[in-house]
Amino acid sequence: MKALVIKKLKKSYGDFLALKGIDLEVEEGEVFALLGPNGAGKTTLIRILAEGLGYDSGEILVFGEPLTKGTARLIGYAPQESVAYDLLTVEENLHFYADLYDAPRERVRKLISEFSLPAKKKARELSGGFKRRLNLAIALLYEPRLLILDEPSAGLDVPSRRELWSLIRKLREEGRTILLATHYMEEAEALADRVAIINEGRIIAVGTPDELKSLAAEESVIHVEGILKGTELVREEFPRTIEREGVLRIGVEEAKTALPRVVELLVEAGSEIRTIRVEEPTLEDVFLKLTGRGLE
């Protein structure tokens, strides 16, 4: 059964068209990642699904039923920002939302235990990782069949991110359908069964991570690190070039011919190259190939 079907969904803010006709299907029990840069339309789409934000046209079906205030209860939502009240304890926050959603109070104790949450600690005293866990627990209070996670690990340190990922994997093992919005390709690759790439309000590709990577299969990616100068010259010759945190990633058709030319351009511009390697493409490379820009 399809957990979610979206057909020709359009949404505008004044003159700005945020969603330009989204078509999407999420199978029950899968982890589906919505991958795209900031401003691609992910949050708008999620807010339509989880917060009742109005839309201009299109159709949304949740487990076969049109999305209404009633069927919205099938959806649990953990936004990026904490929805916990700072002055309330973890337990009080969960009780509040349980009452709001008319969920059984026994769920609170179960979720506190499952997510190893400090029940008596005030929300403002929690670390970033625990705040995300609390958000997740709140979203699961009324046992929704579809769980939507918006940038679940944004801003978390590596250990907290790993812990959160293992929680998400556990939820998947329990059979829950998860729609994951992220701009971290590692997150999408690590968690998702299928990925939709969204850019400027359109879905530009859907498939498993491997299928998507095959879109760029004929490509290789050259990674260059060091004190780099003349990157504009490289970008002029190789348009699928992005620079991030001192690393230059260049998508090329054939590494064997491109590599000497890249080195030549950089060295002539006065770069000091520390390392250089050729890798298989990632989802980010796919995105780069499809859109001509990076995921940031």
Partner: protein, 409 residues
Amino acid sequence: MKARAIKAIIGKDLRETRREKMTIFWIFVFPLMWITLLGGIWGGHSPPITVDLGVVYFNETAAFTAQDVVNIMENVTMNNVHVFNIARYPNESSGVDAVRTGRIDALLVFPRGFGENVSSGLQARVYVYFDRSDPQNYQIVSGVIKGFFSEFEKEMSERKLNITLSYMEKYIPANLAGNFTIDDFRRYLIGLANPLELEEREVRGESPSAIQFYVTSFIGIQFLFATMLMIGSGTLEEIEHGTLRRIAASPATAWDFLAGKMLSTFIVITVSILIGIGYAKLVFGETVFPSALGWLMIFLAAVFSMSLGLAIAMGTRSIKATNAIVNLISMPLLFLAGIVIPASILPEWAKPIANYFPLGTALKSLRLLELYHRPASEILPSIAWVAGSAFGMLLIAVVLYNWAIKRLG
């Protein structure tokens, strides 16, 4: 409406209020400061007023002189308090200067020959200098001085009369007076000298004490500041924190949210009012405890105030702007709506505000009911007006709330 959701919102708000130190200050400590200050300044038993009076007179050798008048004035007391505090000045200009600079309230000048005129039964003049720049003070000071001289004149008239009558008895032949007796003459002359006799009789009225008045003022302050600000900034904090989106997405409706918010705010101000009432009793020995109808009026006024606060908050969608507008509205109303000043002493142009602005109406009715013990039938039209206004303002607030929810970023 979902009772469980409403109860959850009330419980959450009350917990947050209890744990927020600044809220505790504004809701409980600040109003108690008002009662303490206003009660401390105006609430005690007022002693009789003492007038600082300057006098200028000349030494005379007559039987009765200005010095004798001044001595009498120095000994006039009321409830063991001297009515006049006399300062002697050597000449008129130094005394006038003292009035002008506020060192004394008024100056009496007994001109040369005063004692001689009085002693020989002629009319004597006294000059009084007042500073009229403070009309209230002028009214009090001139009333006290003129009152003294009125009594003094009466006493002088009676003495003169008695002297005149004693001469009449001694020197006028009985048959010269025809059918008139000496008693007839006495009564006629008393009527001539003192045509009207005002006799004071005391009534113990039901007028409230200053403390009782200020307890109701404190309730009014709660409407104006606490309720308006609490619900306005409370809702905006939910918007800024992102929790209102979450609540809006839940099965709870806008009415559930508003009912929860309003009831929690009402519970907080009710507790605050009860503390204020108890505090006044404890510290000043007197207070006002509203009747059921009084509480209904408080509730309706609170609904109006909360709706106004919510409407402002939803219109501005900024905590700072809401605080500024609430203060802009509340500060003048504190005075113009008869909250800290009795409506009876307000200028004419401000009286309609006190009478018809719903919070002013509510407070005026509460005072009539609880302080003057007027029958409920007398304030029913006011209750209807406040209830209607509260409902109208609530509708406006709900429309603005729904509009704001749709515009959540």
